[in-house]
Point group: C2
Chain length 250, copies 2
Amino acid sequence: MTYCCGILVRDGIVLVADTRTNAGLDNIATFRKLHIFEKPGERVLLLATSGNLSVTQGVVNFLSEGFENPDTGEVENAMTASTLLQAAQLVGRAVRRARMEAFNSAEQSAGVSFDVSLLLGGQIAGGAPRLFMIYTAGNCIECTPDTNYLQIGEHKYGKPILDRAVNFDTDIYDALKIGLISMDSTIRSNLSVGLPIDIALLRRDAFQLEVSTRIDSSDEYFRDLRERWSKALRAAHMAIPAPPYRGRAP
Amino acid sequence: MTYCCGILVRDGIVLVADTRTNAGLDNIATFRKLHIFEKPGERVLLLATSGNLSVTQGVVNFLSEGFENPDTGEVENAMTASTLLQAAQLVGRAVRRARMEAFNSAEQSAGVSFDVSLLLGGQIAGGAPRLFMIYTAGNCIECTPDTNYLQIGEHKYGKPILDRAVNFDTDIYDALKIGLISMDSTIRSNLSVGLPIDIALLRRDAFQLEVSTRIDSSDEYFRDLRERWSKALRAAHMAIPAPPYRGRAP
């Protein structure tokens, strides 16, 4: 599986993505799921992918190399979209096309799921930072200040901390930290999500990435974060008084 | 949906179960999912249920009123099992039977899932406290000191805290507290799990429940626990230093 989360705050966008893929528990590999399309000064697009790897790789290839828009006949890619909404719609078309190709070449592989879901965040000059989730059907939803994060893949383990800790006014580095805590909770409870983690931080109106790096098991900050978080949770539940219930309700 | 967790510690067993059922988001109701079969001084059985309500109610009815064992011809119920393993196997037979009846009477309701899963914890004189999970197929697994908790229903949100905080040597009231925190995380992040919560605490060799009560939204301890936990989580992530990442990896 996969876990990726994207957080939209006033100051920009953060994406956190694991890299573990698996076709069965005995077939685990590392693949980058966080893809960057950048033209400094003009646009940064961040794409996080989950689901069938052949389809998501197909989507990334379409966005890099371009593919024809049947309505206009023009070849479009991640660099040609003039707004982030158009980029999200382009991702949707790429998903439909990559899935169709997978279906067509897979008559014999009944039972395989070609479902995918993706996050697309970024900013294109002239527009605000925006964050979208694109579904298997190619449709999309957009993050708003009311619900300022989106998740794909194994989202449940890491949701409680996001629900509690993050809002549109959260500092962007705090948002990154909370994204890492959310990832840590997921990694700890689900074997199919694993290190290394790719992270990206795009500040509003910067039009180039402020952070783009990979965190592996030797990363000191992440090791310290995991340890502090574990200790703090232990301290937190130990500080809560013991339940007063005794005996039975009538 | 449902969320129930059972925790086995050296001193006994704790069960925590929500009460929300839903057939679609627009059809929500409250049903008890934690059932008690008790003969003070001899046995206490605690059964938590999730899944298709007609099947789980069928199971509870079979355990209360008894049903024939086809191998022996004898009528068995929760009071006749002489060990907890036998009781778990009895629950398994009740599940198979209740599902079969549901299938037979449901020719027209294609697409309805009759799947269930259950937790059975307790102690019968002569044996130790034991905790089982019974699956739809009627088979079961048992909690051990290595993995001393089991969950049914919406288990992912509340798993990280259990993975971190609970082990076989945890004090039994701490285990109850952690079960309540796990429930709180689930309720907060998933609408299909809701108050009130039923809780039960069975101390080893007591052969009667030490705690059996219902927690609703007016419960002061639980309100305080939720608030303290939220505050502690906020404090915990705020105490972690900001991520040091800046710039990009080569």
